[in-house]
Assembly symmetry: none
Homo-oligomer: 224 residues x 2
Amino acid sequence: MLVLLVEDNRLLAKNIIHYLELKGIECDYAESIMQADSAVFSRIFDAIILDLNLPDGDGLEACKRWKDQCVISPVIMLTARSGLQDKLSGFEVGADDYLIKPFAMPELVARLKVIAERRPAPKLLKIGELEFDFAGHRVHRLGEELLLSRTGWKILSLLARRSPETVEREEVERLLWPDCLPDSDSLRSHMHLLRKIVDKPYKHHYLHTVRGIGLCLKVAACEA
Amino acid sequence: MLVLLVEDNRLLAKNIIHYLELKGIECDYAESIMQADSAVFSRIFDAIILDLNLPDGDGLEACKRWKDQCVISPVIMLTARSGLQDKLSGFEVGADDYLIKPFAMPELVARLKVIAERRPAPKLLKIGELEFDFAGHRVHRLGEELLLSRTGWKILSLLARRSPETVEREEVERLLWPDCLPDSDSLRSHMHLLRKIVDKPYKHHYLHTVRGIGLCLKVAACEA
DNA sequence: GTCAAATCACGTCAAAATCACGTCAAGAAG
DNA sequence: CTTCTTGACGTGATTTTGACGTGATTTGAC
């Protein structure tokens, strides 16, 4: 089991990580929302432990954003906010469980196990004629499956999660080549390949280039 | 949504039922374990609210029995027993959530909604011609038992639990070698062995490779 | 201000390099 | 003995690279 711990209190974090590892649970660690974002979108966790008071923003917002963007991993909120309204806000933005500080480690582990083993049924995201299944890593257009390469899927799913926002070129490149951006501009080729599969065979085009900015995936105005 | 409320305090029960119905949640009612048993085995509930102190026995035992007998409805325990050990016992026997009395109705509803949407972790599972017995660590295909190695079982059961999701290669490897991922790619060999037993002797193939992503086990489109 | 040249961002394509995977067999570990 | 690991090989898919064309945008001299 692999969990992501998002917690800015380093001492507490260290204790949690240590305890989880004793219990055979592997643990990635983020101490800010920014760090958490890049972790969440780069791999799938069996669960995310989310503190709500973070230096660079509110955990509630982050959780809502993740759920809106079809992040599958279940989220357990870990916080000192103990009011009923606080809890309800947590569940409102998609939390799978809510544990109040101070808490007992064994209870955290018990709840982690429950939410990790019983995942929510995968939801499908529809954008026009496109239908995304993030859990199955598949896309369909008008019922037909689009056979994408690994890179093609990565690009398209990022754009879908952000749709109809425009995603900056650089961000797409960071997703594809996290270590070092390529000297040449091979993203162009990938977009070409992607378009050939996603848009070319169909009437309407969903992949758009915003010159000088980046890329976006959205329903064409004329179609809507 | 249909829930089963198991609670011997009639006044509290009436309040809960009333509140749930306000929220559009249908509610069956049992005031003893005996009544609960007959309800649980006669229909499938989206969730079961289970009080632990009942006139004819302990809720913990009932819960354990249900889970042992593959009742898939999630159970939320509702009790005055607030000790850590009580909670752990609850999760131990398969509870999906644990709420301490006194509680706020809106929180109960929020938690009900979360657990009702989750996919259950069954002990028996059928996927096409395959039949899994997770407790007994056995698989049958068309009635014949498949004799798997320890590793083979681990891989296949993970894929089955997640079916029809695609499980990332890395996650399968983490399951097999929790400590350190192997330098060489021996998962390929295991898949080869596994396919020889699971798929090769039969017409339809269930094990699929999603190139660049991972593996999945599912009923082929053409078969359905 | 305006016009043309230079520059830039992008689409297109194909060849080459690389990678992921299925297959198998021999050896190691239990 | 069975099971697991390793490594080698072949194949086809994927990714990268670089070259070329086009139209937009900037630049700078007039």
